[in-house]
Point group: C2
Chain length 289, copies 2
């Protein structure tokens, strides 16, 4: 596995691969790799000839007072995991390489960036869209693998690719979970043992919302939100930020749940902010298969 820290060097290697007719798979990450990332890399390895993993803690997507400084960084461990999962290349640029003077250019995706995580973390998705556009410009034509755990990010990246015609196919990949349901996340490393025990509460709240829709036939989004809020409220260590029902393509709250929705949840356990989401589909009223 080759480690590269300069954009031009990475592009040269990938251009050469494409010249040979090889498909490029790309897994952008902020490092602190875990089983979720490894599943993305393995999927990319299965589907592409050459797989590059980027490791870059992007300052643009952290707000003031967020955890940019303390975000877990362990290059040696990340390289070992990327290699074990089968990556051919790791792109690990410095902040100075990526943003030599502080960028003046911002990429924003309206509407999709405003709700949910965007409301709680103003500017976050502009930072995501800007770095992802830059990484796509560096990597060039590829399949790019994103986890559904960051569902809003996945939508925004997909829309960005569509709107700006990047020669990129975005491949959504399922969320990987611990046995108790906690979605894998680099930020889980922040959890104290007691917080860790409490952390699956957001997943369990999503499951409660899903049951309300799928088994109890609840069609009112506000009622589903109330069910999720009630479930989350049972864990004293958890502080809910939002629990919402969203249409899968535009994140609008439907008036009535008549087709598949995404249940979106976020909050703190102790001082650690966690997000999760789950798909839910109302039962077919006709009972058709």
């Amino acid at each position: 596995m080759k480690v590269i820290d300069e954009p031009a060097a990475l592009r040269a290697v990938l251009d050469e691969a494409r010249r040979l007719g090889h498909d490029v798979g790309f897994v952008p990450t902020m490092g602190a790799l875990h089983g979720g990332h490894r599943s993305l890399v393995r999927r990319a390895v299965a589907e592409c000839d050459r797989v590059v993993v980027s490791l870059f803690v992007n300052p643009l997507q952290f707000g003031p007072g967020e955890d940019f400084e303390s975000y877990p960084r362990d290059l040696a461990a990340d390289l070992a995991q990327a290699e074990e999962a089968g990556a051919d290349l790791v792109f690990a640029p410095s902040t100075r390489t990526m943003y030599p003077e502080g960028p003046l250019t911002t990429v924003s995706v309206r509407y999709l960036s405003d709700a949910l995580e965007g409301r709680s973390r103003p500017g976050h998705f502009d930072g995501v869209a800007t770095v992802v556009a830059k990484l796509f410009a560096i990597v060039g034509p590829c399949l790019a693998y994103f986890g559904e755990k960051d569902y809003q990010q996945l939508l925004i990246v997909s829309r960005l690719v569509h709107d700006l015609s990047f020669p990129v196919t975005v491949v959504p990949c399922p969320t990987i979970r611990e046995p108790d349901g906690l979605a894998l996340s680099s930020r889980n490393a922040y959890l104290s043992p007691d917080d860790r025990k409490a952390a699956p509460i957001f997943y369990w709240s999503l499951l409660a919302g899903k049951r309300a829709i799928e088994e109890n036939g609840v069609t009112d989004p506000a009622q589903v939100s109330a069910v999720m809020q009630g479930a989350a409220g049972r864990e004293g260590r958890a502080r809910l930020d939002y629990a919402q029902v969203a249409r899968p393509h535009d994140l609008c709250v439907p008036q009535v749940i008549t087709s598949e929705v995404r249940l979106m949840i976020a909050g703190h356990v102790g001082r650690t902010r966690l997000i999760d989401n789950l798909v839910a589909s109302p039962p077919d009223k006709e009972g058709a298969p």
Copy 2:
């Protein structure tokens, strides 16, 4: 010369050219080609193996009440000129192809977009940056030719390429002028015969500003602006918008003119808005060569 209207088809042709080791030259235009555009194409033809000219009147860069609807469009004439200048390919997409649903994604370049034309045409440069980013994503690695006549646009595009790491080399090309000094522009077609006679006033005003700096040793930007305003005021058909001295790399107004500056001017002649700019360098105080 081949005419293409689908992004994927253009990318396929250009990827194949690059696979053969050919350099791609790109001249983005809004059509209504004139001698300035032809000079860009000829330069690209001289420096690159394959040259593509895009013709697309980008709605995103027109404000309400501007001339999007009336902007001159003549595909047959543009194709003839592109071919005559030696282009290999013309990319002429429809608005529907470029923006099937109306884009949610915006690319902005802070600071550089706010002054001068940006103040007079709010949102204009976001529209430019967005379509140029999209065209660069479609075209892929290339040399891209831009006229200095749109100097602020040239700076913004250069910064966009730098910040987002597009594999594009921006090539600035000199402004082409009529014998009386009027900078070639598609919007010159709007000028009535009397307006046309008056239109070089902005260039003459730039020349007056340049003389003030280079021959009279004026170092106060406000005084140079006053000289340009005075010159422009002598033409009754002209209505000045701005006449400013700007540092060439960031468009800031210097406190004192001690090195090369750009003189930037804009205004209306009759109902036609025109812009122009000129470089000026203070005399060397030591008298060194």
